[in-house]
Amino acid sequence: MSIFIDQTSRVIVQGITGREGAFHARQMLEYGTQIVAGVTPGKGGQTFEGRVPVFDGVAEAVKRTGADTSVIYVPAAAAAGAIYEAADAGIRLIVCITEGVPVMDMIKVIPFVRERGSRLIGPNCPGLITPGASKVGIIPGNICQAGRVGLVSRSGTLTYEVVNHLTRNGIGQSTCVGIGGDPLIGTSFVDCLRAFQQDPGTDAVVMIGEIGGTDEQRAAAFVRAEVTKPVIGFIAGQTAPKGRRMGHAGAIISGSSGTAEEKLAAFEAAGLGIMRRPAEVVGLVQARLRR
């Protein structure tokens, strides 16, 4: 079992003929993801890798292929438009990998997607993977292994670092979700924790947060109130200076809020297992699952 995606997910790639889109579409096909269509306006009628039909628009792709999931690799200037189009076409899960989407776009995109009953993951995220079943995004498949630990993170390579520790120690994952490093994102830690709590295939959850905002604090409160499964947490950016954007647009301590100390204190109060460094994930997950 898993959350958000599984082997039945029918995926379209928006921006499949672009450099990034084509590269990652190939990787996803190789992993076994059901890529049923690609979309690039003006390139309709082409075939990608000799087997994936390309359409001019998402609505047409959905009508012809029954796609329910979309992954977006278009440039930042076109990303909001691509998300609107996917939601309008009835896509249930929209994963936006694109980095650099203006906040002013996202304040309108997020309610639009929500009102249509769709879920947006990202933007500026690595996507998600249900090991052995489906990969939607850019998380390297070879470091993951199917299993029963859920993982949710605001980061990309830091996620890989943690997943790698789990896999090398024989701890497989149900689903790994990268929710993105921007200040406004479609799916929060709380959304993922709720889904993992409900997923019979997940026994424990690893949550990788970072400085900036209050999403981790709200997640901690949610864990305390509604999550019965063990949760292990990490916060990146303990040494980050205030007021500076640490790569991710969302990773910034504003005034005195969004610090690592504040988030770790919330984790502690909610009884999470706290990783002080990525390598500690293994011991903590093992200990919590034995309880």
Binding site: G100, K108, Y160, E161, G237, M246
Partner: protein
């Protein structure tokens, strides 16, 4: 990207928000001329990207053009929190009856623009929020409709009992909302919003931050960036497509991915060291980025050792290895380099490095521990 006060004022003025006259100058002679033109008492304000200007002596009054020139001379010679004062704003002083605060931010929790207004203006709003939160009124705006007229009036009435003033303030808020959304701001504040003894409502100081992601499609705003107000190494890094922040430690860090870069800095600290920088070389596997990264880091004389921490997913570790070899051939790196590589093409990467007599580790903890020791041994 933060705008200077004079730049923020120009945006407010263009939107029709009433504010006192004012001009920007970079020499004492210019200041004198502006003061003469304005007549009467003027205020001279340092234009630097930092708080606490007043306390540092960066905001002063002058009663004559000659005094204005003297005051400007002193302010233009200041460094405030390490930043050189290159420009000053000269404005006539305003008689003030009351001072309020009006701010707009993007609230991450409600995912909307949120107004914050308070009758306790003129001071740091964080202080008000911490000490007297009841003095702040908040309103989340639905971005599809903007600030509705009655919402603006309701907000303004929390500031002013006089309805004429409330109406003026409501109009200012509506225009501020237009400036905020029209320029892709993440923060726009008027502090203080004042009333004058004769009942007018004026914006006396303005602060605007623009979303960096907005700048690609808004070259007019991108041009407002003041690179002289930034750390030179950070300007160089941005031009090379790197995300870099200079810190004060002695362990240089080159990492792929922002989250991993932060976690690497944290681990340096965990093992008793101090990071010299945050640096994310990004996802692309381009040797040139590695060369640029090394160039920028080695310019910092505090750096005693450099750590590479690369998790190859999309980034191919053999490309990074080639970049390291290329960089160390291109110029002499005088500090030891500790390399951690794992993931895509790692065997090839290790072979490339061994070919030039370099070694690499595959474990992050081992590499960080080692680089901290090496840096300590050379300090």
């Amino acid at each position: 990207m933060n705008l200077h006060e004079y730049q923020a004022r120009a945006l407010l003025k263009a939107a029709g928000i009433p504010l006192p006259e004012g001009e920007v100058a970079s020499t004492a002679a210019e200041v004198e001329a502006i003061a003469r033109k304005l007549g009467g008492q003027v205020v001279i304000k340092a234009q630097v990207h930092t708080g606490g200007r007043g306390k540092a002596g960066g905001v002063k009054l002058a009663t004559s053009p000659a005094e204005a020139a003297q005051v400007a001379e002193r302010i233009l010679a200041l460094r405030i929190n390490g930043l050189e004062v290159k420009r000053v704003l000269v404005a006539p002083t305003t008689d003030i009856a009351t001072e309020s605060y009006v701010g707009l931010i993007i609230d991450r929790e409600s995912q909307r623009p949120v107004f914050m207004v308070s009758p306790a203006g003129g001071i740091d709003i964080e202080e008000v929020a911490a000490e007297t939160p009841e003095k702040i009124t908040r309103l989340a705006v639905d971005p599809r409709y903007g600030l509705l007229p009655h919402q603006g009036v309701d907000l303004a009435r929390t500031l002013y009992s006089d309805f004429t003033q409330a109406r003026q303030a409501a109009q200012i808020m509506a225009r501020l909302y237009g400036v905020f959304t029209g320029n892709g701001a993440t923060l726009a504040e008027i502090n203080p919003l004042v009333t004058t003894p004769d009942g007018r409502v004026l914006a006396l100081d303005a602060k605007i931050s623009i979303d960096d992601n907005e700048l690609d499609r808004r070259p007019d705003l991108a041009r407002l960036r003041d690179e002289s107000a930034e750390e030179p190494s950070e300007v160089a890094a941005r031009e090379a497509g790197l995300s870099f922040i200079k810190l004060s430690g002695n362990v240089g860090c080159v990492v792929n991915g922002a989250g991993l870069a932060m976690a690497t800095m944290d681990l340096v600290k965990y093992y008793g060291g101090e990071p010299a920088n945050f640096l994310d070389i990004g996802g692309s596997s381009n040797p040139e980025k590695v060369v640029n990264a090394l160039r920028i880091i080695t310019r910092d004389p505090n750096v005693k050792a450099i750590l590479f921490n690369i998790f190859g997913g999309i980034t191919r570790t053999d490309d990074v290895a080639n970049g390291i070899v290329e960089a160390t051939n291109a110029f002499k790196v005088n500090v030891p380099i500790v390399i951690r590589l794992t993931g895509t093409n790692e065997a090839e990467a290790f072979r490339i490095l061994q070919g030039v007599g370099m070694t690499a580790l595959s474990d992050m903890d081992q590499a960080v521990e080692k680089v901290v020791q090496v840096a300590r041994g050379r300090s």
